[in-house]
Symmetry: C2
Subunit: 174 residues, 2 copies
Amino acid sequence: MKLDKLPEDLDAGFDGSGYRQLMRHQALGVSVVATGELGARVGLTATSVASLSDSPPKILVCVGRATQAHNVVAERGVFSVNFLASEHQELAARFAGQRGVDGEERFRGANWTTLVTGAPVLADALSSIDCRLLESHTFTTHSIFIGRVVGGTSRADGEPLIYFRNGYRALARS
Amino acid sequence: MKLDKLPEDLDAGFDGSGYRQLMRHQALGVSVVATGELGARVGLTATSVASLSDSPPKILVCVGRATQAHNVVAERGVFSVNFLASEHQELAARFAGQRGVDGEERFRGANWTTLVTGAPVLADALSSIDCRLLESHTFTTHSIFIGRVVGGTSRADGEPLIYFRNGYRALARS
């Protein structure tokens, strides 16, 4: 290994701007993370969603600390992850804050239901994953929420909505 | 929220088999996580890679504790994340253990180099991200490794290799 410099020297050579340029090239399925009770639901479009283990089933999401959803997930201790289909591009834009609406308004015009925990789940997501919060780790701007998966639903059909190089894309036919 | 049951009761109703069925529907860019010195390099195909924050630039990867790469990342304290292009399907299969080769043998036939930390980076990845390990969190079967990004490279062209519903896929033309 080449770590003959001090770690702090390495860090100084690379910043957020360079990082964002590199991460444009990660292709990502788009999902919405949602929580809260009917009348006070909150959610956001998320791309930092990763499977942690399958026995026991655990999933993690990275959520910005400045978002509405961050504090509601922490307080309520439940959340859902909803993997979006190609027809959900407008919903993705709304939950990403690109339509200037927040809270319950983001949920209008789509069919949301609940499963085990009571967190809102999108009825026609490719799959929806219902979690209770196991633990959270807080960093400068974001927290990692780790959920124990306690339920979920999926569709047999449908193709995913993908985000790549700052734009929405679809898969080629297989 | 509906959490009127004890958390343990909720957990008992859902297992790894159901979870794997749900997670088939998450579309993922495929990457290879790599580490180790020339002659003793190790790596694996990873789909649990998530951006944690961009200032400071941090990325996380979930790596199975039973893999060769797990212990080398922990010991060496450096790793790379390489986002694969559509032409890297055979390389993805090799690093996923589907060709029966381990260690250095997985690196043969592709062009690997190093950047800042000395971790191996794939020269023609869509982008490669060079990290020093900041912290790790160990769970039953996997660890979360959080890296401070200290360097990287990217290509202007190329399309991503995607994994969706247990198969490799490509993007439709935009």
